[in-house]
């Protein structure tokens, strides 16, 4: 992981944009949820990359280590991961109910059924 300068951030931004593209361009609801997960995980990678200190170690205080990586992004991302899975669980439950109500999980077919009634 010792690539020059800002290269890490740019790759992570590419990953984020791929996830974002899956969310807005695909019509299948389950695939949208998967794309949202990819987006979230890439944002986490971005934050943790910002928190790393070269030459540091994990932020658990122990004898013999001087530099530690910044623990504050780790705390924020821990919260974010768990909130992300809560969102995914609720999203999947909603998709199941939508499938039972409309018979399909494709966005355009749901739109057509809604417009027809």
């Amino acid at each position: 992981m010792d690539a020059p300068g800002l290269y890490n951030y740019w790759i992570v931004i590419v990953l984020m944009m791929t996830g974002f593209y899956v969310v807005i361009s695909r019509g299948n609801l389950v695939k949208k949820i998967v794309g949202l997960n990819i987006f979230q995980t890439s944002v986490f990678i971005l934050y943790i990359t910002m928190g790393k200190v070269s030459g540091g170690t994990a932020p658990i205080l122990a004898e013999g280590f001087e530099t530690y990586s910044n623990p504050l992004p780790h705390v924020l991302i821990l919260t974010a991961i768990v909130v992300g899975v809560a969102t995914t669980a609720l999203g999947c439950a909603l998709v199941v109910r939508i499938k039972e109500a409309y018979g399909t999980v494709e966005e355009d077919e749901i739109q057509r059924q809604d417009d027809a009634t």
Partner: protein
């Protein structure tokens, strides 16, 4: 899953180790990586594995839905109860220093209680969500 002898035997053998590891991660979170969330998820994953291999009915005999609902609330109440206990003892909300005779011990006790609440709620929520998903298609 009647025919998959290897899966059934391996799951039965692994279950106590998974649950024990979850408890280890919960209480060792002060000294190494770990803590409430990780422990709760591993504990829930153990129950989910059992439900996958042995069926939802067997798993629900061990962890009935009503008891899980009580546990979901109990963890959150433990967390907020610790906060109110510190209020009652004279400090700010969630000021763990009030819980013992010296602040560092109080902090340690407070962190222990709080992580326990987190672990309980997370485990119960994961198992409940899985049971609800898995029993939906079986009407």
């Amino acid at each position: 899953m009647q025919r998959h002898i290897v899966l059934r035997v391996t799951t039965k053998l692994l279950m106590p180790f998974i649950l024990l590891f979850a408890l280890y991660v919960q209480f060792h979170g002060d000294f190494g990586p770990g803590g409430g969330f990780q422990a709760g998820v591993i504990f829930g994953a153990g129950f989910i594995l059992y439900a996958l291999v042995y069926g939802i009915e067997s798993a629900q005999r061990v962890a009935p839905a009503g008891a899980l609902r009580v546990l979901i609330s109990a963890g959150l109440l433990l967390y907020i109860g610790t906060g109110f206990a510190t209020l009652a003892l004279g400090g700010n909300f969630l000021d763990y220093g009030m819980l013992a005779h010296e602040p560092a011990r109080g902090q340690h006790l407070g962190i222990f209680l709080v992580e326990l609440g987190v672990g309980v709620t997370v485990a119960a929520t994961m198992v409940t969500v899985f049971f609800n998903f898995a029993s939906r298609g079986q009407d």
